[in-house]
């Protein structure tokens, strides 16, 4: 048990390293051009979040976090990526990703978002001096969430939107495990896992291929016009 978790202690540095790794992987997600690589990076990020959860479980002496870590490793690091690979093969989705926004502007936007996340989180948690660890971690987690959203809107690919959503969820878990004494973390991770599974199955069952645009409600216009 490493009791004082301040700046410069090993507990702080290591969890910071894991959070930073998740953030770097989020950036990596932004510039991928191939679907397989995207899924690999997502799996890697999920593993990093699982490692962060395990480390926090050790550092906070909170064994229930190991369950979260297990879910992150098993379900998100292995099962979901496998399922996604199968979807790509079974539906014969084009393996290239069509960007809606160029790589360079996307990266610039991402850096801006990280700056924003830090600018928001650090001053607003100013009064929580004791938990420096939580403050830095929160900034990283918020950055991961924002980058996940950015990945969702800058790609014209349905599967990438799903992966962006999953990566966003990784950011949420990172935030949840980083705060000491946060209640219901395990329940939260299970619930989110169910949600994520539904999204993945939804993609599979609705046979959404390259784009969500085929679900565009504009196609329903003739019907709604009649009803007016």
């Amino acid at each position: 048990m490493l009791a004082p978790q301040g700046f410069g202690t090993f507990a702080y540095d290591f969890s910071h390293l894991l959070g930073g790794a998740a953030l770097v992987l989020s950036f990596t997600l932004l510039y991928q051009r191939r679907l397989a690589a995207v899924i690999h990076i997502y799996a890697l990020q999920a593993c990093v979040v699982g490692a962060a959860a395990a480390w926090q479980g050790f550092a906070q002496n909170a064994p229930h976090l190991y369950v979260t870590a297990l879910i992150a490793f098993g379900a998100k690091g292995v099962l979901i990526p496998v399922a996604l690979h199968r979807i790509v093969r079974r539906l014969d989705i084009r393996r290239q990703i069509e960007p809606a926004l160029g790589i360079f502007p996307t990266m610039i936007l991402g850096v801006g978002l990280v700056g924003l996340a830090i600018a928001v989180v650090l001053p607003s948690t100013r009064h929580v001096q004791a938990q420096t660890l939580a403050r830095e971690d929160l900034a990283l987690a918020l950055s991961v969430v924002l980058l996940g959203m950015l990945a969702m809107i800058t790609r014209r690919n349905a599967l990438l939107q799903v992966v962006g959503f999953l990566s966003l969820e990784n950011g949420l878990m990172l935030a949840a495990v980083g705060i000491e004494g946060m209640p219901l973390v395990v329940e939260l991770s299970v619930a989110v896992l169910v949600l994520v599974a539904f999204v993945v199955f939804g993609v599979f069952f609705f046979r959404i291929r390259e784009r969500f645009d085929s679900l565009d409600v504009r196609r329903l216009d003739p019907i709604s016009e009649e009803r007016r």
Binding site: A100, L116, A119, L146, M152, I153, V217, D221
Partner: protein
């Protein structure tokens, strides 16, 4: 003593609203009885010094009690309310379709007037709006009624949205629930700078939209004709006055310090605009009840001018003048409340008997309905401000106050007052012309329809109600002094000065420089002149009289199926309005005459179409409507976005929120 009694009477009205939906015949007489008892109680309260009192009623919001109070100001308005409501209840004794809302409407208005905290005030104010909204919707099968009701309830919501923040701005910081009590507001420091101006703007918008002040007046000529007559009488006579009461209560009482003198100027400007526009519209409307509604706009404008002058004089530290102007405003509020109720009841009876509300379908009712016509004449002479009537007394006081007002301040204010006097004179002339048109076309002349020719006088209770109101109106005209004495406690509390020694039983002398007004003497003079003229005419006239066929404007003799002559050969409402429409309508109402003349040889009829557009509708409501449609069609497009665009919208909203948070913290 009186206040608990009034609270119980209001409760009785609320209880009467329970059997009312089952059309019980005893409800209306009971309402009339309660109103009569309450009117006597308030009269006694005002006559014996009007000692202000406050009670706490153990009902209300969680953690708060309702507070009720009675003082000189609310007493004056309560007296008006109960007198008109009592007469309306007698008149509407046969009402079965809107019966459920009548006791509720009266009780809500009484609650708003008795309220001593912001929540109770708004509760009464909004319940009053909702009850009358339901009455407008009684004929919901007509589209015009539904549209009018929609506009009406929208304006009511707007007024609540304005009044609530105004009251919160006035309450002291800290405990919001207890702070909304009027006593706490009086004790708190008055908001200054832009917060003070915000209070003024919100109150003028909130109370003004309910009272029918200039840009917010559009609902009156639509909503009043749609409601049953005894409702529209009460809406016009009492409800608009409740709104004015709120304005006076906030600006003179709850705003603790005397406000800057310029605060009166916007009120005066809006009042003058309403007076002229309302007077003009009263001449142009084709519906008899819309004529009266438009004239209500005019009279509310005149009262607002009085309030504005009093506000300016109070800011300029001239309590005597403030008392005079406020006395004029309050007296006119009472007088207008009485004679407008009377006129609505009379015109309602006439249009019911004549089978139409259109001025061009009525006519010649004086022969079939002499009592109703006589009562309408009494009310109409007051509305036209003919000398011994009540309308003249109060408008004369208002004129005296505006004429005395230029000594308040510099050249700018003097110009404002000079223009105001001129506009008031125009409004008074327009009101007189509108009354001549209404009575001359709808009640005199020959019937225009077979239904109008066989119109029957209304039933006995309705006649009694109208005769009673006509009696009150004449008494107020002949003896304005005693009514001013009843108003005095309110003046003393609000301005620190009063008219106690200036308002005698017979003679009213508003200022030391002007001559007094002795209504009975004027009445005697007018009467003497009238009888002298009558004698001279009788001497000069041919003995006996013969009824002959009316001259048919050069047309052929009237056909057999029109025994009273072809209606188009009679001077009608539109023809009467034409000179005024051409002189003023073009500039103020965008009047447009469109003549559709068939070519020689064509057999279709020629047509003259008249288009009118209220400036408030053209420049305020139409752009707001376009803006609303534009926004909603933009928002509508959002339902058709692709999923990526939807996500992007949410993402941008989130980022903007975060930027705002970061910016606020920096």
């Amino acid at each position: 003593m009186i206040l608990p009694l009034l609270a119980w009477l209001v409760l009785a009205l609320l209880i009467l609203a329970i059997p009312a939906p089952f059309s019980q015949p005893y409800v209306m007489p009971a309402v009339a009885g309660v109103c009569g008892a309450a009117a006597v109680a308030v009269l006694g309260f005002l006559a014996f010094g009007a000692e202000a009192s406050e009670i706490v009623v153990p009902v209300g919001l969680p953690g708060a009690s309702m507070r009720l109070a009675l003082d000189g100001l609310s007493g004056v308005f309560l007296l008006l309310l109960f007198v008109s409501a009592g007469a309306c209840a007698v008149y509407g004794h046969g009402d079965r379709e809107s019966l459920a809302f009548f006791p509720l409407f009266v009780a809500a208005m009484a609650l708003a007037l008795l309220a001593a905290d912001g929540f109770t005030l708004l509760l009464g104010f909004e319940a009053m709006s909702l009850a009358s909204w339901a009455a407008i919707l009684v004929h919901h099968e007509e589209k015009a009624s539904r549209d009018a009701a929609l506009l009406y309830v929208g304006m009511a919501a707007f007024s609540a949205a304005c009044l609530l923040p105004a009251l919160i701005l006035l309450s002291p910081a800290g405990d919001r629930i207890d702070g909304l009590g009027f006593a706490a507001m009086r004790g708190a420091a008055a908001p200054e700078g832009f917060r003070g101006v915000l209070v003024l703007v919100l109150v003028v918008l909130g109370a003004g939209s309910k009272a029918g002040l200039f840009p917010m007046h559009v609902w009156l000529p639509l909503a009043h004709p749609a409601a049953p007559s005894h409702f529209s009488a009460l809406m016009s006579g009492a409800m608009t006055k409740v709104a004015l009461y709120v304005m006076i209560r906030v600006l003179f009482d709850l705003y603790a310090a005397p406000p800057p003198a310029w605060w009166g100027v916007p009120v005066i400007a809006l009042g003058a605009a309403s007076a002229v526009l309302g007077g003009l519209r009263a001449n142009l409307e084709g519906d008899v009840k819309a004529v009266l509604a438009a004239s209500t706009i005019e009279n509310v404008g005149l009262i607002a001018i009085g309030i504005g002058v009093a506000l300016t004089a109070r800011g300029g530290d001239l309590p005597g003048l403030a008392a005079l102007a406020l006395a004029g405003a309050l007296l006119h509020a009472v007088n207008h409340g009485v004679f407008k109720t009377l006129l609505f009841l009379g015109v309602g009876a006439a249009s019911h008997a004549g089978g139409s509300r259109a001025i061009s379908k009525l006519g010649g009712l004086i022969h079939r309905m002499p009592v109703t016509t006589g009562c309408v004449l009494a009310g109409g002479s007051a509305l036209a401000a003919l000398p011994p009537s009540s309308g003249f007394a109060s408008e004369w006081l208002l004129f005296q106050s505006v004429l005395a007002a230029p000594r308040i301040g510099g050249l700018g204010l003097q110009i404002v007052f000079a223009v105001t006097v001129a506009l008031m004179a125009v409004a008074a002339a327009l009101a007189a012309s509108a009354m001549v048109r209404l009575i001359g076309v709808a009640f005199l002349g020959r019937p225009r329809t077979p239904r109008g020719a066989v119109a029957d006088e209304t039933d006995r209770p309705a006649r009694a109600a109208m005769l009673g109101l006509a009696g009150v109106s004449v008494a107020l005209g002949l003896l304005p002094g005693p009514m001013l004495r009843l108003i005095n406690p309110a003046l003393h509390a609000l301005t620190g000065s009063d008219l106690a020694e200036r308002a005698g039983l017979l003679l009213v002398t508003p200022t030391s420089v002007a001559l007094g007004y002795c209504a009975p003497a004027v009445a005697m003079l007018v009467g003497l002149g009238f009888f002298a003229a009558l004698l001279v005419l009788r001497r000069l006239a041919v003995r006996g009289h013969v009824r002959g066929p009316a001259w048919a404007n050069g047309f052929a003799a009237s056909p057999a199926w029109l025994p009273f002559g072809d209606p188009v050969t009679q001077y009608g409402g539109d023809s009467f309005a034409q000179p005024i429409r051409r002189a003023l309508g073009g500039a103020l109402m965008a009047a447009l005459e469109e003549v559709d003349m068939p070519a020689p040889g064509e057999t279709r009829a020629g047509n003259l179409a008249i288009h009118l557009a209220d400036p408030a509708e053209r420049y305020l409501f139409a752009p707001i409507g376009r803006l609303r449609r534009a926004i909603s069609s933009r928002a509508d497009a959002m339902t058709f976005l692709s999923i990526r665009a939807t996500l992007a919208v949410m993402f941008v909203a989130l980022v903007v929120l975060l930027v705002v948070i970061a910016w606020v913290q920096a």
